[in-house]
Amino acid sequence: MTPKQLFQQRLKREWNYHYEVWKSAVDWIIALYFIVPFVIFICYQYYSIWTDQAPWIEAFPLQYTRYIFFYICLIGSVRLFIKEGDLLFLRQEKQWVQALMRHGMIYSMIFSIGLILILAAALYPLWRTYDDTSLSTVFTFTVFTSLFRINIQFIRQLFSIWFKRWRLYFINMASLITFFVVFQLFLISPYFVQWFLIIINGVAARFLFNVRLNLTWSFQADCLREGQRQLVLATSFIKASGYRVEKNFRANKEPFILFSESAQVFKNRTNSNIITETFIKFVIRNKSKLLTLFQLVVCFVVGIVVAPFWIKWIVLLLSTFSIIHFIRGSWDEMKNHLYFKLYPNPGHEETSYAVKKATFILTLPICFLFGFFTGWSAFFPFVWAGFLVAVIATTLMYFYVKKELMV
């Protein structure tokens, strides 16, 4: 067997695995009633765009479609197709490992180019018909974004190897801003500057390819990352079904900002206060939970603001209930953890009180925000109305959590 054959075997296996995951998640009922009609609808709309029969396109902000490419550039990762088992068998053969990595990186580059080409082909009719974009402009843009995506993926992966914790966080923030500036610079630049940027990107891609190829000491971290990339589809399906997927890639050593040194929320260390405190920490130290909460809050606030006067109150009620039960659901997650099952916990009155208290504390600022936006948008421009509704909403929420919430 050659490294190329081994790579092909792994690639084939991975795509087979993705296919199996799809098959298990999308059965024929979902395919028949959801996917097929959706695909037909998209094809019809796409045909309408080509034939200039899609009136809705007038309201479509075409200038923003290019930022879809920027987003696509930020997602994904350079693949190496190495496995932990290689540590036993292939690691001693440097040429084999490097050949595997080379094939993986070339595959990632081809994948990037293919992805950008498909997206450009899909958006071309819009640009051509409604924005008078020439083919050469689209070609230049496609070449740039393909190379840009490749470089971004190399750079982000190298940063994740070289830096850790808060340094990585700030470097990622800084690099995101830099990438956006470069992308924006390309969009506003004249033709020859655009090609200059393309050449720079081409040279950078070649350089970064070599750097990544020779960086072999991060073998174990690379294997972990590879494992995560292989499972990305399955993970997203499992997450969508509501199951919590444990993340354990480069765990932080200690809390970064929130309650470092195991800082206490309550001075009085009763068992009830400890449960309240740990539950609060469980929610606010969980990035994916916080992100979901943030997304829910943004959606509900927008919903409250744009809804007609009477509907606002219903949305306020629904959104508050949703947040309370989302947080309440986190308690189930916490108590269903294996650590909790190490000891028989008969459950006592204090636990119920503690969970309700934590739920109230966590929901309070969000409920206040919902109440404020409801009152303020209902009686615009009176800010005091916002504060008044916020106080009433949080008070009602307090009584609901205290009296009615089942723990």
């Binding site: 050593k253 260390r269 449960i275 740990t278 953890h337 650590y339 000891y343 028989p344 006592h348 503690a354």
Partner: protein, 235 residues
């Protein structure tokens, strides 16, 4: 006083597959019993049955006293979101422990197992041995009447093993019973009062070392007795 009574006809992961059969034994107060057997013999299934983690169980498990047990698993389990100290505090709270000396004992154990420098770190960043120490500390702190310990020595450094053994001795003197599954037979021979030898889901021998020797190889070590049983099973 009897702390644990296991009276199982069979148990398994599904009703048509009986992983363990005819398992009957008791643990007395202050007793340390070794659960021994080859890989896949059914030791973990017995432990899971005692913990109530199996759906298909035909039989009875009784834990005496305040029904407070502590399980030290082979693979440490912990929350990604909590530090070592927060895990200890959570164990105190969910077990409703009101002991005024709890924090003092926790500090002593952290110091004994040399984890002071990572007291406020997430266990996810620890080595396997350090995570195992956390499991041991938390189990000891809740002062159970029964310990169920699965492969406690894996990943522990020699000092930690010695400290763990002396703590186990103290706990036995306090009156706790300990069921310990292990492959480290040399150590088990020295510390266990009795042994339960399991193979292919059944109890093939039980008793003190002398009783085990009487039905296998006289004057032999536990390892040799174990080897004898395995070889005889093959025939």
């Amino acid at each position: 006083m009897e702390i644990l009574c296991v009276d199982l006809h069979h148990a398994g992961y599904s009703d048509n597959k009986k992983t363990i059969k005819n398992i009957h034994f008791q643990l007395q107060q202050g007793e340390l019993v070794g659960l021994i057997g080859p890989n896949g013999a059914g030791k973990s299934t017995i432990i899971k049955t005692i913990l109530g983690l199996l759906e298909e169980v035909d039989g009875e498990i009784n834990i005496a006293g305040n029904n407070r047990y502590a399980y030290i698993p082979e693979h440490p389990v912990y929350y990604e979101e909590f530090t070592l100290w927060e895990h200890i505090e959570l164990a105190k709270a969910v077990n409703n422990i009101e002991d005024a000396n709890f924090y003092q004992r926790a500090e002593q154990l952290i110091s004994l197992f040399r984890l002071e420098h990572v007291k406020h770190h997430f266990p996810g960043s620890f080595s396997k041995g350090m995570q195992q120490k956390l499991m041991i500390i938390v189990a000891i702190l809740i002062k159970p009447t029964l310990y169920i310990v699965d492969e406690p020595f894996i990943g522990l450094d020699p000092k930690a093993i010695k400290d763990f053994l002396s703590i186990i001795d103290e706990e036995r003197q306090r009156g706790a019973a300990i069921l310990m599954s292990t492959h480290v037979l040399d150590t088990a021979e020295k510390i266990c009062d009795r042994f339960l030898l399991v193979n292919q889901g059944e109890l093939i021998a039980a008793g003190t070392l002398d009783e085990v020797r009487a039905v296998s190889v006289p004057e032999a070590s536990l390892m040799d007795c174990f080897y004898y049983f395995m070889e005889n099973e093959k025939r």
